[in-house]
């Protein structure tokens, strides 16, 4: 109908993704929508919620969301390949318990950290092995290892908790930079953030991750090491989860078997909210960071406004559903506007 002219006009080859101006490509994205929402929520909260603008709120906000921020990084990469890792929270618990048990046994704390990180890597490697070598669906595998690692954690420590840690380390976890209100742990996150952004967006390995998510066999035929990439990602995910476990233990000064139970769903909710497709192949790190912070800020602001945590749960859930449904609603609108039998190019020009 309206696109009848489009097919006759331009014989020059155009690409669906690149025939829009640069600013549109940068700004009219899922990720920027979340970033925008984050900014709006932050501004509204600062203006209307008493106490939200105080520096201390910011400090606690960062301290609270750090485990989710850390784990969200490798989770983003894994979900872009179309896989998922539900076992991360259990690895957090396992590494926390290992640190507790080793410290209790009198081992030096540095050794305990190393052991916990190695255990996390091994746990991730087991996930990766089952997914890539045995060829099982990651959802099923990591539901299994979710139970397994949590079981090991609870089994090792029972219902007791280890709370005796070197003061130097517990202070380090809560330390602030200089005289400011910025927690030192933010530095750790920023370093990892740079590593992951470079890895995902600026290396062949990262392009391979997207390729795998879009089409596994096409990726394989174009020379991407599909299995090796996935295995590396699962090991990374396990290691970072263990690191988050170390932080979690120090931050709360307590190693327990049930530490961070249910954290996996929070991480996945934030990652999906940040624009990563569960089918794989699309997503970007800045969106995910915005997603994590959005949920964190909402929770923190509502808590200050004396709204109970259940409302936060409802909002998280509704946001999650709305964010994905809006996507397919927009796609549906686009197909409505396209002429029946219109070409892909017509669709792209109509979409602008």
């Amino acid at each position: 109908m309206t696109t009848a002219t489009a097919s006759t006009a331009a014989p020059a080859r155009t690409y669906q993704d690149y025939d829009r101006p640069l600013w549109k490509r940068l700004l009219l994205t899922r990720e920027m929508a979340i970033v925008g929402l984050l900014v709006i929520v932050a501004v509204v909260a600062t203006m209307s919620v008493r106490g939200f603008g105080q520096p201390i709120t910011f400090t606690y906000l960062i301290l609270d969301v750090t485990p989710i921020l850390l784990i969200a990084l490798p989770m983003t990469l894994i979900m872009i390949t179309g896989e998922i890792d539900l076992s991360v929270a259990s690895i957090v618990g396992l590494s926390s318990v290992l640190i507790g048990v080793l410290t209790q046994a009198g081992a030096p704390f540095e050794l305990a950290i190393v052991v916990a990180l190695v255990a996390g890597a091994v746990a991730g490697a087991i996930n990766g092995f089952l997914v890539t070598v045995v060829g099982l669906p990651s959802l099923a595998v990591t539901i299994g290892t979710l139970a397994l690692y949590r079981g090991l954690a609870v089994g090792l420590l029972g219902t007791t908790a280890v709370t005796d840690f070197p003061e130097f380390w517990t202070d380090l976890a809560k330390m602030k930079l200089g005289g400011s209100n910025v927690p030192a742990v933010l530095l750790l996150f920023l370093v990892l953030l740079v590593v992951f952004v470079v890895l995902l967006h600026f290396t062949p390995f990262g392009r391979g991750i997207y390729a795998i998510g879009l089409s596994k066999s096409a990726a394989r035929f174009s020379g991407v090491h599909v299995e090796r990439t996935k295995l590396v990602l699962f090991v990374l995910s396990g290691t970072i989860a263990a690191l988050a476990g170390v932080y979690y233990t120090l931050r709360f000064g307590s190693a327990r078997g049930d530490n961070a139970t249910g954290l996996e769903l929070q991480v996945i909710a934030a990652v999906v909210l940040g624009g990563v497709s569960v089918f794989g192949g699309r997503g970007a790190i800045h969106g995910v960071i915005a997603g994590v912070l959005l949920i964190g800020i909402l929770a923190s602001a509502l808590r200050l406004a004396n709204v109970t945590s259940d409302v936060i749960n409802i909002i998280t859930g509704v946001l999650l559903v709305a964010s994905v449904v809006s996507n397919s609603f927009l796609a549906w609108l686009r197909t409505k506007r396209r002429a029946p039998g219109g070409t892909a190019r017509a669709k792209a020009s109509a979409a602008g």
């Binding site: 089952l130 099982l136 089994g155 936060i312 509704v318």
Partner: protein
């Protein structure tokens, strides 16, 4: 392989009787292996402590404890077979359990049957929300039901607050359901069994039931073939929600106390039970029978471990090993089957 050699040697192999064929099919079925594992666990626990099976309490617990999870796992299996997943079942169970309590408190003298119907319809409606979002918006079920997991639980906490339903608020007749027995079989188990048999029959023998499998095996092929995929998906999610609703009523009858966290974490148990029972998470494979046996195995192992001398802290680890073992086994069987089919094709 595992097929029992029931055919007597002198019988000629000219024609296999219907009975032996059926026996072989039973032996080769994936569910049989899980049933065998369940029997072994029960035997081992009984040898360690005869009370596990041969006392009134032991027998009752053996049947009663899993019956609620069986219902949830059956619903989960239907959804999994269509290549979707329903993570919100735990939250639906919690909501309908609290609804059950509230109905008895707010409307004194309400017939028990009406409460059952109300909770099932309520669960079905919550399932319908999931189903509509999945089927019409064409969004992955995992994301939608993860969202509704939070939303429903949030509504539950908002509604319940720090309040909770106590056994003293509930009518005696209703609580009797939770402990009563019909011919040595607890009433709740009877309910679960009836539901299981009905749904098992539907899934195996009716056109609608087979369409779930067709959709799960290849969604686009099912669409091209002209199956009403949208309607089937809606039915799958409504069934899962309604069964979780029914499970909520039984939960209240069994435990008597309901707070805002009732049923939290059950979603992973339900998926785990279905996977242990041979329902493939990639859709199209498995049966509700398997899921039900998986649920029984899961909870029976939990109760058997302390008796076998393993501290119950290790329960979850064992459950994890079990799930991984089950999916690895399924994978091995699938690979072998594929090889056999290829060999058969080359023979022709």
């Amino acid at each position: 392989m595992t097929a029992p050699a029931q055919t007597p040697p002198p019988a000629p192999a000219i024609e296999k009787t219907a009975v032996t064929k059926r026996l072989q099919a039973v032996g080769a079925a994936r569910e049989f292996g899980i049933l065998l594992a369940l029997v072994l666990v029960v035997i081992a626990a009984t040898v360690a402590n005869p009370n596990f099976l041969f006392s009134a309490d032991g027998w009752r617990d053996l049947l009663l404890t899993p019956s609620i999870l069986v219902l949830v796992a059956v619903g989960q299996a239907i959804v999994l077979i269509t290549r979707n997943v329903d993570l919100s079942v735990g939250s639906i169970l919690g909501l309908s359990a609290y609804l059950t309590g509230r109905l008895f408190i707010d409307i004194p003298g309400i017939p028990i049957l009406a409460v059952f119907v109300a909770a099932i319809v309520f669960g079905g409606l919550l399932g319908l929300i999931n189903g509509a979002l999945v089927a019409y918006a064409k969004v992955p079920a995992m994301v939608i039901t993860l969202g509704t997991l939070y939303a429903y639980r949030g509504i539950n906490v908002l509604w319940t607050g720090s309040d909770r339903v106590n056994a003293s608020d509930l009518p005696k007749d209703f609580l009797a359901l939770g402990t009563g027995q019909v011919l040595w079989i607890p009433i709740l188990t009877v309910i679960a069994l009836v539901v299981l048999v009905v749904i098992g029959w539907i899934m195996k023998n009716t056109r609608g039931g087979r369409e779930f499998y067709a959709i799960g095996s290849d969604p686009s092929a099912a669409e091209l073939y002209g199956l009403r995929v949208t309607r089937r998906l809606l039915i799958a999610f409504v069934s899962s929600g309604a069964l979780a609703g029914l499970a909520g009523v039984l939960y209240t009858a069994r435990y008597g106390t309901v707070n805002s966290q009732a049923g939290s974490g059950w979603e992973l148990d339900a998926v785990g039970a279905a996977v242990i029972g041979g329902v493939a998470i990639t859709g199209g494979v498995g049966s509700v029978w398997g899921a039900a046996i998986g649920a029984v195995l899961l909870l029976t192992i939990n109760r058997a471990l302390p008796i076998l001398g393993i501290p119950d802290f290790w329960q979850r680890a064992v459950v994890g090993v079990l799930i991984i073992g089950a999916i690895v086994l399924d994978r091995v069987l699938a690979v072998r089957q594929k090889r056999k089919l290829i060999a058969a094709r080359e023979d022709d």
